[in-house]
């Protein structure tokens, strides 16, 4: 089995759970003897040699994982507005290079899609698998070229990203098109599946729930190396600081907890569009001294942050899955998560609250810090529970989806494959679509 996979970020150059999930899933597929060619946008300012080396150094069993880079400034979790800022900063790039980048993020996704079609011509594959909206067009373009079945993997929808504050119509249109034209959909939770059915009008039978998992490592830190947590208990927020993740609810809860015990420290790890706003918010609430901002963390520092904390809180407003609670459980740190998350469907040994119920959130935080046996029980049972979350399981589910598609294809094989290689015409159709979307945006 050979899979041509389109992603938009991959560790170590990831800013969120999507890259983590792609890494884990790819590894899980390799363990299931699936060959994967992973196509990612190449960040112009990064040196990719290091990246490739890092990956090729890993053991992937018998199967073969190959990376193909596409030059583009596309990055994970970029909004159309952010793209404009980013490309504006690239004006100093020598003339020859600048034409690589499109005028907006949709043009960029189109360039990526055109390259995808070229790759699809040369890379042998049985199935195409595209992760989230920026790669759906690439997936569709590849499908037009090779005629192979397309799986789109929904890690988030525009309704999650907006955090309830509206959606970008152009992004929505791309998502909807991808979902409808795909042969099968993988969604990271029932929570997300319901959103797909409700907001995108997709046939439920086409959607396969594939819950995420977590990668294990042996990063261990001695308590003494933390400094901070020696004299005060630490409550951690770790994630992008953006509306969807509910950072302000974390601060409101912190305020209430600190009224009970002024000695507790709240650590906010990550970056995002609300970073500055949250620093101001903490000051405005009068808890600035107790709320510490670490900036963006990666690699071992992430594990260190979890291990330093007495409790990890994920107050997301709308979390399609949420791998971070699993990471916390892996690090023996108890977890409090919002009920508005996919991960809450699959974990039992955690506390769950509604993201908006700040009183309850504060109460539960206090309880975990106050009652040692509760902390220990969550820690021990949580760690035991997370051991079941191997990436081999979601990979097996994806493999099952691939096999089903190939079986169906065999049965309904009325397609004249040569027809599909009249790719020029098809590519033009893809272009037309992008232009029509662009007009909608500009």
């Amino acid at each position: 089995m050979k899979v041509l996979m389109f992603g938009w970020e991959f560790p170590p150059f990831n800013t969120g759970g999507l890259g983590t999930a792609c890494y884990g899933l790819t590894k899980g597929l390799a363990n299931n003897n699936v060959d994967v060619t992973f196509v990612v946008p190449q960040m112009p300012e990064k040196v990719n040699a290091e990246f490739v080396k890092l990956i090729s150094a890993k053991s992937y069993g018998k199967a073969n994982i190959k990376f193909r880079m596409v030059k583009t400034p596309l990055a994970g979790y970029m909004t159309p507005e952010e793209y404009k800022v980013k490309t504006a900063l690239l004006t100093n790039v020598p003339d020859g290079q600048q034409k690589l980048y499109g005028d907006n993020i949709f043009m960029e996704a189109q360039i990526y899609a055109e390259k995808a079609a070229e790759i699809a011509k040369t890379e042998p594959h049985d199935v195409i698998h595209a992760h989230d909206w920026m790669t759906y067009m690439a997936g569709l373009a590849a499908k037009k070229v090779s005629g192979k079945p397309l799986v789109v993997h929904v890690h988030a929808t525009e309704f999650d990203r907006g955090g309830g504050n509206g959606v970008n119509q152009a992004v929505y249109d791309l998502e909807r098109k991808g979902m409808h034209e795909a042969d099968a959909i993988c969604s990271v939770s029932e929570f997300t599946k319901n959103k797909i059915i409700e907001h995108y009008g997709v046939d439920p039978n086409k959607i396969n729930v594939v819950h995420n998992a977590v990668e294990f490592n042996d990063h261990k830190f001695v308590k003494e190396s933390f400094g901070l947590s020696r004299d005060s208990k630490v409550v951690l927020f770790l994630g992008r600081i953006t509306l969807q993740k509910g950072p302000e609810y974390f601060l409101y809860a912190a305020k209430k907890v600190l009224e009970q015990d002024p000695n507790i420290k709240f650590v906010v790890a990550g970056t995002g569009d609300m970073h500055g706003m949250m620093i101001e918010k903490a000051a405005e609430l009068g808890i600035g001294e107790n709320v510490l901002f670490t900036g963006f963390l990666k690699g071992k520092d992430i594990d260190k942050a979890y291990q330093m904390a007495d409790l990890y809180v994920m107050p997301s407003v709308s979390e399609p899955f949420g791998i971070t609670p699993l990471e916390s459980m892996r690090n023996n740190t108890p977890v409090l998560i919002s009920k508005q998350s996919g991960v809450s469907e699959v974990v039992n040994h955690v506390l769950k609250v509604d993201f908006w119920d700040v009183d309850k959130m504060a109460n539960q935080i206090c309880a975990i810090l106050k009652y040692g046996e509760l902390h220990n029980a969550l820690m021990e049972n949580g760690n035991k529970e997370v051991q079941n979350f191997s990436w081999n399981i979601p990979a097996e589910k994806c493999l099952h989806v691939y096999n089903k598609l190939l079986e169906n294809k065999l049965i309904n094989n009325n397609l004249n494959k040569t027809e599909n290689f009249k790719s020029l015409k098809n590519l033009n159709q893809v272009k037309d679509l992008f232009y029509s979307i662009n007009r909608g945006v500009n």
Binding site: H349, D359, N363, A367, Y371, E373, L374, A377, N381
Partner: protein, 398 residues
């Protein structure tokens, strides 16, 4: 001759509120009045009232039909507070003279395992309550969730009871039959004839758990089939002890499963066989001799597949909650404050600890289903917060 002996458990706890850390020192309402009232009325309509109507009819029709009930004190209090009609329907059953009422701890507690003194006080409170409500004084004891060990038998025999009900667990019987009476390992000299009635868990659970289970190979369970199983015990057993929660009828097994039809046809069919009869636990004890002694060193119960105490005190949260609670006993009693003592006692109800059970992935599912909180951790939090508030109130008084 084989005697069928029915005993039904009637109990509802006072469920706690989702009492937060911030409530400590500010909120003295620990129990969820509205929720408790609502649940009691729901169970009354689905189970207590319709089942009592069937029972009264059966008792009137067949003078040979006998049953036993054990009511926790806290459920009787709730009947009086929320639904007196239910209480009078139970009183009418007892008035037939064919119903035996058993003795237990007023608060359906684990007190025997944590404080013998409190255990005896709660049993005494319960005796008074039963006398007041039903005008009878029980002679047979059953401990919360049929929890039993050698020591309990000695204590209860020393209190003058004639016998005790417990689980017919395989690991205790070791191949012997639950369909005979047994003696405990040792009894006080003044009460040498103290006997044990053991639950026939197979036949009991056929009704209580498997009745509506379509994947069970005996489904559907018909009256002739069940009577046939009981008949087959004739000649190799004296009694078939069918012990179950009363909520089996209409609540665990819904009306549309046919459970009421099953119940209303069972006595007549069973009595067709001349060697069958119904007996109450004390009649069984008076009619038959014990065949052997049972040695139960580690406590057993009727719960879960383990038939042990792990549902209530199997994890560290449960143990710490129990410890915090019973550590307060002397202080609560010395305070001479009846209100605080009553609150403390309501917290001894075993259900609070059952909700904290984390044995989820097998028969723990049942715990989750009956849990009024979001999960075991949330119930532990509410309990500990309440204990802390109570402690504060005691210390302020000191």
């Amino acid at each position: 001759m084989v005697s069928t002996c029915f005993y039904f458990q009637v109990h509802q706890p006072y469920r706690m509120k989702n009492y937060g850390v911030f409530d400590i020192g500010k909120n003295q309402n620990y129990f969820d009045h509205d929720n408790n009232k609502q649940i009691l009325n729901k169970v009354a309509n689905k189970c207590y009232l319709p089942t009592n109507a069937v029972m009264l009819n059966l008792l009137n029709q067949h003078s040979e039909f006998k049953v036993a009930y054990s009511f926790s004190g806290v459920v009787l209090d709730q009947f009086q507070e929320y639904n007196p009609q239910v209480l009078s329907s139970f009183q009418r059953l007892v008035e037939t003279g064919q119903v035996e009422v058993l003795s237990e701890t007023f608060h359906h507690s684990l007190a025997f395992l944590h404080s013998k003194q409190e255990f005896k006080e709660q049993v005494e409170l319960h005796r008074k309550k039963i006398k007041e409500v039903f005008g009878v004084t029980p002679t047979i004891f059953r401990n919360t969730e049929l929890i039993y060990n050698n020591e309990l038998a000695e204590t209860v025999a020393g209190m003058g009871y004639k016998g005790i009900l417990t689980e017919g667990a395989d690991h205790i019987l070791k191949g012997r039959s639950p369909n005979f009476l047994y003696h405990p390992q040792s009894t006080p000299k003044e009460n040498p004839n103290f006997k044990l009635l053991l639950k026939n868990y197979k036949l009991s659970d056929d009704i209580a758990f498997r009745f509506s289970n379509k994947s069970w190979k005996e489904h559907p369970l018909t009256v002739p089939k069940f009577v046939n199983w009981i008949n087959s015990i004739n000649g190799n057993g004296n009694c078939v002890n069918l012990f179950m929660d009363y909520e089996t009828f209409g609540e665990h097994q819904w009306k549309d499963t046919g459970i009421f039809r099953f119940l209303s046809h069972l006595p007549q069919q069973l009595l067709k066989h001349p060697d069958n009869d119904f007996k109450t636990p004390s009649e069984v004890i008076n009619s038959y001799e014990a065949v052997d002694k049972l040695d139960v060193h580690n406590a057993m119960s009727w719960a879960d597949v383990e038939r042990d105490l792990s549902a209530w005190q199997g994890n560290k949260m449960q143990l710490s909650a129990l410890k915090s609670l019973y550590n307060m006993e002397a202080q609560v009693k010395n305070s001479n404050n009846p209100e605080l003592l009553a609150l403390w006692r309501k917290l001894t109800t075993s259900d609070h600890f059952y909700y904290m059970c984390t044995k989820w992935f097998n028969d723990g599912d049942v715990h989750k289903y009956f849990n009024p909180y979001d999960g075991p951790y949330d119930s532990y939090i509410a309990f500990m917060n309440i204990v802390n508030d109570l402690k504060q109130r005691l210390e302020i008084r000191d």
